[in-house]
Symmetry: C2
Subunit: 160 residues, 2 copies
């Protein structure tokens, strides 16, 4: 099948498929005499697999390291090891998110539990000082993870 058809069937863009080939994630495919790429049906499975692995949190580098040349011959050891490490990573991230959440909620509490009068400046200082106290007890927070990600991933565009 052509790259356009593969794109349609896999849900990935053509540019993305070519990009994967360019970084060596996909091996170079056969060409028709005119230069057009021709893909075997298994390519759909492979692309689905890659997309799925990404969804599970694997980088393209990690995926490349785990993908066997032949889809039927996996390195079970390496694969299961990588999966376990990924679970551990996710758990670490979960812990950090719990921390962040707890602290933000505590901060909301601080702000809302201000004295009845509107002593804004004093309240600000009080809240700030408590914030730093809390955070400095716990310098190993999430950060980069909560940020950046517009709720929808980049997995959306489809060229024709």
């Amino acid at each position: 099948m052509t790259i356009g058809e593969l794109a349609r069937r896999s849900g990935l863009t053509q540019s993305r498929i070519r990009f994967y080939e360019s970084i060596g994630l996909l091996k170079t495919v056969e060409r028709r005499p005119n230069g057009y790429r021709i893909y075997p049906p298994e390519a759909v499975v492979l692309l689905d697999l890659i997309a799925t692995a990404q969804t599970a949190g694997f980088s393209l580098d990690e995926i490349r390291a785990l993908l066997p040349g032949d889809l039927d011959h996996w390195d079970h050891e390496a694969l299961v090891g990588a999966l376990r490490r990924k679970v551990a990573e996710i758990e670490a991230l979960e812990a950090r998110l719990r921390q962040s959440k707890t602290q933000i909620m505590a901060l909301i509490g601080e702000i809302e539990a201000r004295p009845g009068d509107i002593d804004c400046a004093a309240n600000a200082r009080r809240v700030l000082s408590r914030m730093f106290d809390e955070v400095k007890k716990n310098p190993t927070l999430a950060a980069d993870d909560v940020r950046r990600r517009g709720t929808a991933g980049r997995r959306s565009a489809r060229t024709g």
Copy 2:
């Protein structure tokens, strides 16, 4: 104080402080006749605050939108609203991570629960097909979040 001293006291690099000024996150500060920036002591608090907010998952754009011109005069409404939205974001991310984790663990189970004989190819196909079944029931996974983040953030370098 000079930018070098501010850097030392806040734990941020000089380049980062200048960068924050360049994007309008910090307002332009006073200069000595020779062009050197001079910062008031409160600058340390402000930078700590920014770093803390980042740690909690706020982007620089979000922080800029929330920071009052005067540290003593916050827009409580906007601030609490943003904090609540951030908590919601974190919870959404937590849900997706739980999903990913569950699926990876299921996958590990699939791989390890293969028939006693070493029918590798058949097992591969079986595992792959189950994977796609699971994932396609649930197309709204994490992904971009688990990935990219080398366990330690970029918050580490210190220039002199």
